[in-house]
Amino acid sequence: MKGNSFFYCLGQGFVGIKRNKVFFLASVATIAACVFMVGLLMAVILNVNYVIKEAQDSVCITVFFEPETSEADIQDLGKRITDWEEVSHVEYTSPEDAWEKFKQEYFKNEPELADGFANDNPLATSASYTVYLTDITYQQKVAERLEAMTGIRQVNKSEVTASALSDFGKIAGIASLAIIIVLLAVSIFLISNTITTGITVRAEEIRVMKYVGATDFFVKSPFVFEGIIIGLIGAILPLIVLFFVYRSAINYVVEQLHTFSSAFSLLPMKDVFYLLVPVALILGAGIGFIGSMIATNKYIKV
């Protein structure tokens, strides 16, 4: 398509919108609702994944040893566990480190009480490994393997949290996908109807174009442009709304839930919108393109 024809067809796309205001508004509203829902679900999913990731990073297995296990055996166990493919890394806490941590936590204001244990570490048998996993779902398997090892007295894990988080992520993903598919189908159907109305309104123009030798592509282009323009407008509007909604949500979490904020926080704006803006624009333009192609292929034949 030559440059002047491109701009002519683009211009005709806008003319079509102007002539068909009611259907244009209805289509924009539907696409906007669809993109808004997709955006909202995406923001929720991104944040759920963020929370899961944070939780996964903090979920770990703590391993304590039999009292008679020697320092060399503990070192050897550590090396073997680190080599497992399910294990991301292992942190060693010596009895001294454990006692220091305990002192900081419980005798911070009365250090003289702790001094009484200076030469007799009450946590002498509390050396431990903190085992971090590459994936939260490996927890049960790794815990069982650890329990079966010689020299290990106790294995502490948080299985309920792990599976619950993992399951919640999966359910949220499936439910979101189902809702998005339904909304997409409705949007494509409605935009296709809008373009069909446009084709009917401009039937005479299309007929004349065909008689004077316009190509299929030239006749269809204005309608495809119209669909894409509607799709893009329908995507930009909810993005603006989502921007303000998400900003308010972040402010609310920071201001109202500050007591939990160390445990619960939302992804920063830029992290969400960096992904959301291209997805919404491609989605809007895609809905417009597919809807208009369905209508033009069905009703325009040279």
Partner: protein, 229 residues
């Protein structure tokens, strides 16, 4: 320029032949009237020539090329060689005279400079230069048909097909349209006019192909009508 070889057209919903083994040969630069009563097959012939319909059997040649099995994507190129004019003008009501004519050029992606030049040329040929800003509703029937004619000619077609171009016009305006068609033909375009206006046909004294029930019943050569009188 136009050749029909044993062309038959039968519509699916009607088992009778709209055209029945029709053979027609129209040479380059000819001016031909196709006449006949309603249902004679005139409109079917018109639609076959612009590839709006597919013949049931037989072959159609336009400008030396067989269009019977022409691929769909090649149809626009065929139509660029054929200008068409209809009884009901088919002008776009929301565009002025200039835009109606320029529309045909834009549809074939003509460059803007060429559009201006060609539109001015056909406006002059059709004698409606002073009306270029008027909208169709502001024009008489005759003027509207001249705009339609200008639009059909602006892409410089080799063939001009006119389907009852004077059907909605008074004798005065009909004569103006015929004069323009004659001028177009003089400049080298092959002109085919489908009509049942016998008065115009007699006056013009051109070649006349008479259709009846889908069959060519006679083909009177140019000047033949005068000798028949």
């Amino acid at each position: 320029m136009i050749r029909l070889e044993n062309v038959t057209k039968t519509y699916d919903d009607n088992k009778t032949h709209a055209l029945d083994h029709v053979n027609i040969n129209i040479k380059k630069g000819e001016f031909v009237f196709i006449v006949g009563d309603s249902g004679a097959g005139k409109s079917t012939l018109f639609k076959l020539l612009i590839k709006e319909l597919q013949p049931t059997s037989g072959d159609i040649y336009v400008n030396g090329k067989c269009i019977t099995r022409l691929r769909r994507r090649k149809i626009p190129m065929l139509r660029r060689d054929i200008g068409v004019v209809f009884q009901d003008f088919r002008l776009l009501k929301d565009r002025n005279v200039y835009e109606n004519i320029a529309f045909a050029q834009r549809a074939i992606s003509a460059p803007p400079s060429q559009i201006k030049k060609n539109v001015a040329e056909v406006l002059t040929l059709a004698g409606i230069s002073e009306k270029y800003r008027s909208f169709p509703d502001q024009l008489s029937g005759g003027e509207q048909q001249r705009v339609a004619l200008a639009r059909a000619l602006v892409n410089k077609p080799k063939i001009l097909l006119a389907d009852e171009p004077t059907g909605n016009l008074d004798p005065g305006n009909s004569q103006i349209i015929m004069d323009i068609l004659e001028e177009v033909n003089r400049r080298g375009t092959t002109v085919v006019v489908v009509t049942h206006n016998h008065e115009i046909v007699r006056q013009m004294n051109k070649r006349v192909i008479n259709l009846k029930n889908g069959i060519v019943v006679n083909d009177i050569r140019e000047g033949g009508l005068a000798s028949e009188r």
